[in-house]
Symmetry: C2
Subunit: 108 residues, 2 copies
């Protein structure tokens, strides 16, 4: 998959994986990897800054904990984040329709 085809689509994806349970950064990476069937192997230099950005923007809230000597920062959706996720899903559907309207991907 092309490098930064993700542009603009990553945020809702991150929000989606913490929708039903709060997760820490590393676990978010693993969840993305798993849900994408191994395709989405985010570098830490992408994920961690993105999480901070989303927190700054008010879509995520975080708290520190220490588990077995390891520090974890666990993120959960805020109510603004929930709304953002919903509208992100909607925007995805629009985007998909636009691309497929132009691309007509059935025709190889």
């Amino acid at each position: 998959m092309k490098a930064d085809a993700l542009r603009g689509h990553l945020d809702p994806m991150i929000l989606a994986v913490v929708e039903h349970e709060p997760l820490h950064g590393y676990a978010i990476m693993e969840a993305l990897l798993e849900r994408s069937g191994g395709e989405l192997d985010l570098p830490t230099g992408t994920l961690y800054p993105a999480l901070r950005r989303l927190e700054r923007a008010g879509y995520l809230a975080s708290e520190w904990s220490t588990v077995g000597g390891r520090k974890r920062r666990t993120y959960q959706l805020t109510s603004a984040g929930t709304k953002m996720l919903a509208s992100g899903k909607q925007e995805w559907l629009t985007f998909r329709a636009v691309v497929e309207g132009v691309l007509r991907p059935g025709q190889a």
Copy 2:
């Protein structure tokens, strides 16, 4: 639709509209607008540089003509462009599967 969610997806879309008939820049803009149901209104500052980039990369070839006092540069797919378009369509399907695997967009 978010501004540059297009990132990395625009190139195959441009190639797609000239797949069956050569078009000049302005006509490409109109074709994108029409095929996207009015959603994709590219600024000229996006399209023209993109066309030049695709030509430099060998995916498009262009020639000048003058129609009614207006200069047109008409673009058509090269054979490399045809291949690139095919692989772009394939990549789109992968990308879509990745996003939807993570997003599960059915659930509002």
